[in-house]
Symmetry: C2
Subunit: 340 residues, 2 copies
Amino acid sequence: MPENAQRATLLEVARDAGVSKTSVSRYFGGERERLSRDMQRRIAASATRLGYRPNQMARGLKGGRSRLIGMLVADIRNPFSIAVMHGMEQACREQGLSLMVCNTDNDPALEREHLALLAGYQVEGLVINAAGRPSRELEALAAQGTPLVLLDRALGDVDADVVGLDNARAIDTALDHLQTQGYGELLYVSEPPAEASSRQARLARFREQLAARGLGGEACCLALDDNAPALRRAIAEFLDAPAGAPRALLCANGNVTLAVTRALQALDVTLGETGLMGIDELDWCNLVAPGITTLAQPTEDIGRTAVDSLLQRRRERERPAPPRHIHYPAELIARGSTRR
Amino acid sequence: MPENAQRATLLEVARDAGVSKTSVSRYFGGERERLSRDMQRRIAASATRLGYRPNQMARGLKGGRSRLIGMLVADIRNPFSIAVMHGMEQACREQGLSLMVCNTDNDPALEREHLALLAGYQVEGLVINAAGRPSRELEALAAQGTPLVLLDRALGDVDADVVGLDNARAIDTALDHLQTQGYGELLYVSEPPAEASSRQARLARFREQLAARGLGGEACCLALDDNAPALRRAIAEFLDAPAGAPRALLCANGNVTLAVTRALQALDVTLGETGLMGIDELDWCNLVAPGITTLAQPTEDIGRTAVDSLLQRRRERERPAPPRHIHYPAELIARGSTRR
DNA sequence: GCCTACGATGGTAACGTTCCCATTTCAGAC
DNA sequence: GTCTGAAATGGGAACGTTACCATCGTAGGC
């Protein structure tokens, strides 16, 4: 192998093998069977000898096939996002696609910026866990023909598939479980829904079902950032108010579960006696005292489905189907925190 | 905005603004000041009106400047990797770079495959948290002139910078703390070091210092995958053996801490009485019973430094400096699990 | 007032592919 | 024996950008 060699090019391989560049292109472009046995052998030999690798940039330029899938995630440090990303990665690999991940840290401006960048790389599809409401850029992307999938959060006016949890059913499952376990006075803790459709859906369903089932309690929304005191106060208030039945807390997502668990420890609450349950399964849920009951999202499935959905859309590009909404059920993992 | 518009091209902007493509290229290529006020205005106007975005593929093809940084990570689900990635992302954004992340799931074959892919995208730099020993591909990449940074794990025969923890000092810090707290009989639990240099370094230092300090105990290495029983047995053995001083466990990384904590709970061990300490700070460390003492790695710094290092190397491409090794100290976060 | 030089601009040739359209060869149909 | 067509191959023109060199003014030095 040469000392400071530039990467070999298709043309060099062609020359070395004594064939035309078209043939080499075909060999690497997935039309291998159209070539004669002998030609395949010669190309393969030259290619390995020269260490040839197709230049994806050139490839992407010519055909518009960048073989790139973009992922825009609102909070990369959220285990949910990571798990979904892992699923997407596997799906991509199976399809020979690569993943470009951008984290927006929940900042709409950054989101727009990254969106423009991803568009610049001609991504063949885009999976978005939106922070803001970047419909302008998204619409441009969609109009340009890029398949879009919204992850977890729908965006009303964008023509895209949505993949995520069946939020209403998840809340029902949670309430069923809590009722079965004898809890009757509930506090639902969520981050402010703002634009996040799944937060809205969960919250709405909780409120609706609370009334429908004749349960006591309420929902409380607050930002988690550095709001530990406020959260503790809200929980203390709930615990001190008179109640006709055992109390339980339901956390809207993993971040909330973490914050609430911290608050409960600070308040010296015994889990189980006061129920605790969260959406999103986390590493440590079976480590904290009697174990925390959760609703696990099928994150890997969600990730794979997102990618599949993208590819499906690309296939039917000519005859665009109406947006699909795919909602997975959550899996109940019952632990000590909801056992009295 | 047009219904099914293809993205506008540089040429179209040029025509629309009545200038040459060179000028438009300059405008977007960071030579804006070389253009007259008037020309800048005209180009800006046309560009926004047409919704122009430079095609990164074409850009990457022509100049070799893909503006892409690759990251190869052995285990994307490891919080350490995520945190570092987050740091890298920020550094990249500040430089106008994008990040392409590939997860190898600790599979050397996958690692090679992804390496080839990243090379195909002409990444301008590569940060690698190696799973196997992919020196062949890496050397090719290095020879081709791509700056390389090894994350956490050095790879003896590869000419690249290394960024990570000061492992020896971290172990010393841990031992200092444990000794101060009165623990004298230690079990160091690690995953098998195999090719991972930092695991080797930590393990070696532990063994060496154990002897040097006249402490009792030993080190034990086992794969964590689904080896809960084996781990439990090893720990039980340690706890049952006669000891002249209070016992403590030291976990080589976050994964180990998780597994060991599980095992200790199964064995009904009281933390603090038996000491527990882990390298890597985790979300839940202050949630489990008296809180778990950890050594936090400065993950964000590590990520940023990795990217900076890459850029530095690219700048000095002509006069290649010898490989740099940058090792950060760990920060001790003392909690109840090492208080007797 | 001429030459130099620099600042502002434009034209053209790459970059490494893929795609479209030849061209060649040869088997089988009439 | 010619014709048709498919299979195997090759030639060139794109794709959208940047790099290099050329061209034009015009301001300053003598």
